[in-house]
Subunit: 443 residues, 2 copies
């Protein structure tokens, strides 16, 4: 059902038909539909949905809508919704809501959950601990498959995933066993025989980007989170890992285009916040670019004598910027998906140097020939060709080295992208250009 | 075990210790370790690994290494490895190998698998069909939970996932049931009562990026692929969806930096291929930038009289380029993750226009004041301030409109990024700048 169909039925007061249609939809689509309705329609529609699905749809809503509902929920409704949510979603909720709403939420949670949520809230924002959930299935190594399946039948409904179960002894994580293994093995098999002992786990304080990359590398559905004593404190599930991967990529791209990343989507971010996120870097880069300008004025004599020299400035600047950002982009992405490390720096530089030779030769030849033919001026063609070669080589080297150095000194490599590289490379290319011109034209 | 430990044991001929250590490792790490060894060590190590794990590690190797092994495998070894691989991995293998290796691979597959692989190979490269696998569990609506679990016990080992099972009648897809539901419900419950009827499925020819986005949106572990008659032909699993998401993002970033994307990782791509992927766009952009240069020569008279005008060219060009690429990046990313659509074009333009007003006001004020104070020249400050405002507004509008238009005409929005936007905006900003200067200074 879409908004139009809903409003048609709503106008005719066909609540029974609406209820049927709503309950056929899945929770994600329900949340999107509700987001398009007015607050009044929203509340009526929500109360027509069966409880379990309504609670699920609630978890998929954005902050504003959740806040609206939390303000009008009766205590009973709030309890129902909160009880069916997994801890990681409740944590997100508590982080997003204003204080008065948070208080009501916490009052409606049982004491144990409240304590656990407070623990999770204490982990740093970017850590594995902050995105984990505590609803997992734990097994014992001397259980049989039959006993394990029985336990899953009992507690599975409360677990965010049952597809990887964790084998625990005295809170220590011994191993993991997949539901697939439980289902295809005989009832009397011992968990000890089935469990994988050499498992991938993360520490509560590990960076969540590292966690997400482990999912990708090893094709996992869940990763256990352990504390410094190797005791399991929670799990991260693949849906959250995908969200982390998507958000981190968006953040990287935003930074690479010289902006501060926003927590919200494009349309949810206000005009003022957009402007604020963009203006700082623009100011810094604008003022840095005036350095290049100041350098140009030093060569006033040169372009007073040969004014056409000025006309090649944009071409050289753009080519330098583009070459640098090509290299920087490849390195930043390689670092993000763990294909390149700081230790590869000399390998990368040597590769970029050779690429730069090939690329600059092609560009110098094309543009040199063009200028020679157009202006019948061999010296001018030579100045441009040599400047291009030097600019390309320097740009590629600067472009590949800066992100690696940033990574080494624990800065985000993504800020060493096109805009900053362009500004840096501009200055170099202008200096090279006018020096070569002064030398060849003997100015 | 890492390479160093392996080589130490290998030198001492401690094959038993090597075997133990290798068999403790997981398949992904095994594949990475083998990749670091020489061909000879590689083969010895591989034959020490237990069959099932060796076959799994084989699936994680890169093309070169797989080819090496396929060339030296006995028919028996090849059969063992191929039998334990899922169809989607075998398809990848067949696509990557040279013809003579492919022939040997096909000879060692049973007839049915050969036919199915040939079918999958016929789907377009970017389609859901090309990344699907055919090993899934199918159930019948009148089975009980007990019967379903029994079937999973029998066929589960051959299935890539058992966590979502598909309910099929006469090859038509009726619904899906999760292993979780099977495990937490009573033995006598009918599948019909448990199955979700309103399921997300994709068509064989749907774009694989669309498929990957559905995984993200709905938090799924597998999506069924159906043909035009709603008959199920395969499934896509989440590990493949994550690979698609990662590859598509890398491709987008590469295109956004004016390069042709490469199929291989940074280091696997040869210097020549790197150069080839980068030079075409550089040539196009370089020659386009000469247009800006030609325009500058038209205003020779202006900068002959006031040479300092030239020194602001880099600052204006860079600011325009940066502003445009900020907007373009946000829109390209929004389109990729389905947050923005072509129909939003006027909403986007209005938003970017207001952001541009705020940002340009700040930049114009900062730079105008600086120039006024430094050069004591109010007219010059005014020229720069007005040029900045106009440049920022135009850049932001060009930056947001072009990716949306590209999407509309079925081009990849990612090519409408920083480099192209910069070149386009350069021309505009230079024209605006010199016109305003000519007007205010009455040149």
């Amino acid at each position: 059902m879409d908004k139009k169909e809903f409003l048609e039925l709503f106008e005719k007061n066909e609540l029974k038909l609406i209820r049927e249609a709503l309950n056929l939809m899945n929770a994600v689509d329900l949340a999107s539909l509700l987001a398009e309705l007015s607050d009044k329609e929203n509340v009526i529609a929500f109360r027509l949905i069966e409880k379990k699905k309504a609670a699920e749809a609630f978890a998929y809503m954005d902050g504003e809508q959740q806040e609206m509902f939390l303000k009008i929920f009766t205590n009973k409704e709030m309890k129902e919704v909160l009880d069916s949510m997994y801890t990681d979603d409740t944590v997100d909720l508590v982080e997003d809501m204003p204080a008065n709403v948070v208080n009501r939420v916490l009052e409606n949670l049982d004491k144990e959950t409240r304590i656990r949520i407070n623990e999770i809230l204490r982990y740093p924002d970017d850590s594995a601990g902050s995105i984990m959930t505590i609803e997992y299935v734990d097994l014992h190594e001397d259980m049989t498959v039959k006993e394990a399946l029985k336990k899953i039948k009992r507690v599975g409904i409360y677990s965010e995933t049952i597809y990887t179960c964790y084998v625990i002894h005295d809170r220590k994580l011994l191993g993991a066993v997949s539901a697939k293994d439980l289902l295809i093995h005989q009832d009397e098999t011992l968990i000890e025989e089935l469990m994988e002992k050499n498992i991938i786990s993360v520490n509560t304080h590990d960076d969540k980007e590292k966690v997400a990359n482990l999912f990708r590398k090893y094709g996992l559905l869940a990763i256990p989170v352990v504390d410094s004593e190797q005791c399991i404190v929670g799990i991260v599930t693949i849906d959250d890992a995908i969200d982390v991967l998507t958000d981190e990529t968006t953040e990287d791209m935003t930074k690479m285009a010289a902006m501060n990343p926003s927590d919200e989507s494009y349309f949810k971010t206000s005009v003022f916040t957009h402007a604020k996120n963009r203006v700082l870097w623009l100011l810094i880069l604008m003022l840095s670019a005036t350095i290049t300008g100041t350098i140009i004025t030093k060569y006033e004599a040169a372009f007073q004598v040969i004014p056409i020299l000025v006309s090649f400035i944009p071409m050289l600047m753009d080519t330098g910027g583009n070459c640098g950002s090509q290299s920087a982009t490849l390195i930043i992405r390689g670092l993000a998906i763990d294909e390149i490390n700081y230790t590869d720096i000399f390998k990368v530089m040597w590769k970029e140097f050779r690429v730069a030779i090939l690329v600059s030769a092609a560009l110098a030849l094309a543009n040199g020939l063009r200028i020679w033919l157009m202006y019948q001026d061999f010296k001018l063609a030579l100045v441009i060709a040599i400047s291009l070669i030097a600019t390309v080589i320097i740009s590629k080297l600067v472009g590949c080295v800066l992100p690696l150095v940033a990574k080494k000194v624990k800065l985000d490599p993504a800020i060493m992208a096109a805009p900053l590289i362009t500004t840096l490379v501009d200055t170099c290319s202008i200096c090279i250009y006018f020096n070569i011109a002064t030398f060849i034209f003997k100015l």
